[in-house]
Symmetry: C2
């Protein structure tokens, strides 16, 4: 498997476009993905009881089981908490795109990201669709335009593509994403769009996506503010002409491995680009009795405000980490825990069996001053482990979230 | 029932003292409470799996069931994650206080608040005890000295006392507290000390405290960072000579009512004095089908970083509140929710049946610019309700938590 250039337009037969439809001021605010051939579609969606209209629409389309050939995305307005009017807007968006692309409206997926509560300016959306259709292209630049158009408080566009062999054919998997329902709470959305020319049954496609999301996007720092719009969509058009994957086995595992690589890369890009973040904070819990326990503990640490503030301060305040583990609800023996900090600047054992090793604060601060820092907690109970990704809590996080809308 | 002056020294027979023992630089850092007569003691403690040494010590003393006559508190060091050495320090502290006060060491409760992981300078603690014993006094000033000595990042001392009638006798209940395991995570402690001259059985005393804590301290904003040291202690010396309360009934309810008033007042003082806070944020969930649901929803809102940041920005970003309700895990119908903001500046209906009322943003910002603001969410499902207290998320919260220790 090798990393290749580009994003959603890297696989055969996928076109993309981005445009400024006037939803946001003087910025690209709409993106479109189109496949030359009908795609099998898989999706995972927010577990928030309050679901945005496009989430409800996409769930119907994906679960209904027909083929999909286009995705229309807007940034600026989330179309959440908008009642029937908001849902009708999704329907109109799908109908308009279907008309322009010669599809049926149930072949069009819709996604939105932005402020909650406001209604979508549907006429601008329709205008944007008309603008994008002629711009659709398989070029790398077209993929970049789309990746830029879905950005909100993101500071960089997020793309990746990999190629690998399936049944003697070269298969490509590409993706783009934005924000994070957790790290970008006020933009209230993590959106990820994945495209592949692999030939795989709808059932196995959904199975692979559901499995991969658990270990990737769902391990990105949750500050509790799980979005109303979180959506991950995976489209497969089969143009690589590999023998169709219809069951678990070597081919399926190869596809899943590629999917995990792509999603892990995108998930880390999201965490590292968290609102106001100055550092990517990775937490590994190892030596756990079972994975469930490692997941609970790593997420509890990554979401602790005081731990995140300490990372911002380059302060090895390990007591906050042990405290966060203690209230996580997971069982473990605090008196057996070893804790390490590591980064490009080195690795340091901070506590052994629950108490300080008498480490050098200067050395710890030097390690914590890197752009990517990792905390490793060893429970010494078993072989299970989990990794979670987040970022530090900074003045800018507060500024962005306090000033937004105002 | 009437509010009276003072705090822990307001009830008959309770003395207090505060001193600077050199644990912190040039600040009072030790407090002592002493009762002329042996007290029945009740306590509630942190649910964190990682418990500070003094929490373990107090649990043994309180649960063992003997009488208690003194409490020794230090600020500056939490004595958490300190292993056997930390526990032995509690034992030495109790032994020293017992020696100086002519008690047995199992009549002495101990509490600590401060940084996690550091060992307590036990010689300074012993010196502090020697300093405080001659300072012990029933005066209001002595109570204030104690209330000041337990402060960490608190900006104001927190005291209250009330008097009421029990069986024809005037009974007084006083209290002091500091910080918050939730709002003051880096100081990792909410400590509350309550004294009363009421005559009540140990069983009913514990029953009243456990019930009261649920609706007061446990409803203060939890940013997830539940402390390793949280402790609430209630001492009753019976000197009011009211007929002993030994069962539920009118007298018990009168005592519980007074206890709730004292604890609610202290809990709100804690929330309003949250690290970096500029406003007390109260959340009422009404019209719930059951209390459990109202508690879950109100706590989810009060702990939402993005909601707290919006309050700091005086921004009526109601979508964040509905979002926080949605991911709380509690069941409700988002399309039935009404939401109001209220403060000294007025009351405004923000959303009706899940969608915006088209309210005036200026009016909303005016209401949210007060020092105490309330959000009321009506589920329209039943008669149950719950109230939670928190504060806004500010630059100073990040500053305090990033710079601490550094």
């Amino acid at each position: 498997m090798k990393k290749t250039e580009g994003g959603v337009t890297a696989p055969r037969g996928f076109l993309a476009a981005g445009a400024a439809a006037g939803i946001k001021k003087n910025q690209k605010d709409m993106a479109m993905i189109y496949s030359r051939k009908p795609c099998r579609a898989a999706g995972t969606f927010t577990k928030n009881l309050v679901k945005a209209a496009p989430v409800k629409w996409d769930q119907e389309v994906v679960y209904e089981g027909g083929t999909v050939q286009a995705v229309v995305v807007n940034s600026g307005v989330a179309n959440a908490c908008t009642g029937k009017e908001g849902y009708d807007c999704c329907l109109e968006t799908a109908r308009k795109a279907a008309l322009e692309l010669n599809l049926t409206y149930d072949q069009v997926l819709v996604a939105s990201t932005g402020v909650i509560g406001a209604q979508i300016p549907v006429e601008k959306i329709k205008k944007g669709i008309e603008m994008m259709v002629p711009l659709l292209s398989e070029s790398r630049e077209a993929g970049e335009m789309a990746a830029e158009a879905i950005m909100t408080t993101d500071t960089v566009k997020k793309e990746i593509a990999v190629s690998f062999e399936l049944g003697g054919k070269t298969v490509t998997l590409g993706g783009m994403c934005k924000g994070s329902g957790m790290i970008h709470p006020n933009m209230c959305t993590m959106l990820s769009f994945l495209t592949t020319d692999a030939c795989i049954s709808k059932e196995m496609l959904q199975k692979a996506l559901s499995a991969s999301v658990e270990d990737t996007y769902n391990m990105v720092s949750v500050d509790g503010d799980t979005s109303t719009n979180d959506t991950v969509l995976l489209l497969a058009n089969g143009m690589a002409e590999n023998p169709e994957i219809t069951e678990e086995g070597e081919e399926y595992r190869a596809f899943l491995q590629a999917l995990n690589q792509v999603n892990t890369c995108l998930a880390k890009q999201i965490a590292g680009d968290g609102e106001g973040a100055t550092a990517l904070f990775e937490v590994k819990v190892i030596g756990a009795a079972e994975k469930e326990q490692a997941v609970t503990l790593s997420k509890s640490i990554i979401t602790s405000n005081l731990t995140k503030a300490a990372i911002f301060g380059h302060d090895a305040n390990w007591g906050r980490i042990l405290c966060a583990m203690g209230y996580s609800g997971a069982r473990f023996d605090p008196d057996k825990v070893d804790l390490y900090f590591e980064s490009a600047a080195g690795r340091l054992k901070i506590i052994e069996n629950g108490v300080s090793t008498g480490y050098s604060e200067e050395e710890a601060t030097r390690i914590l001053s890197e752009k990517e820092v990792t905390a490793v907690a060893d429970l010494k109970m078993g072989e299970a482990s989990a990794t979670a990704w987040g970022c530090d809590l900074t003045y800018d996080y507060v500024k962005i979230n306090a000033d937004y809308r105002s």
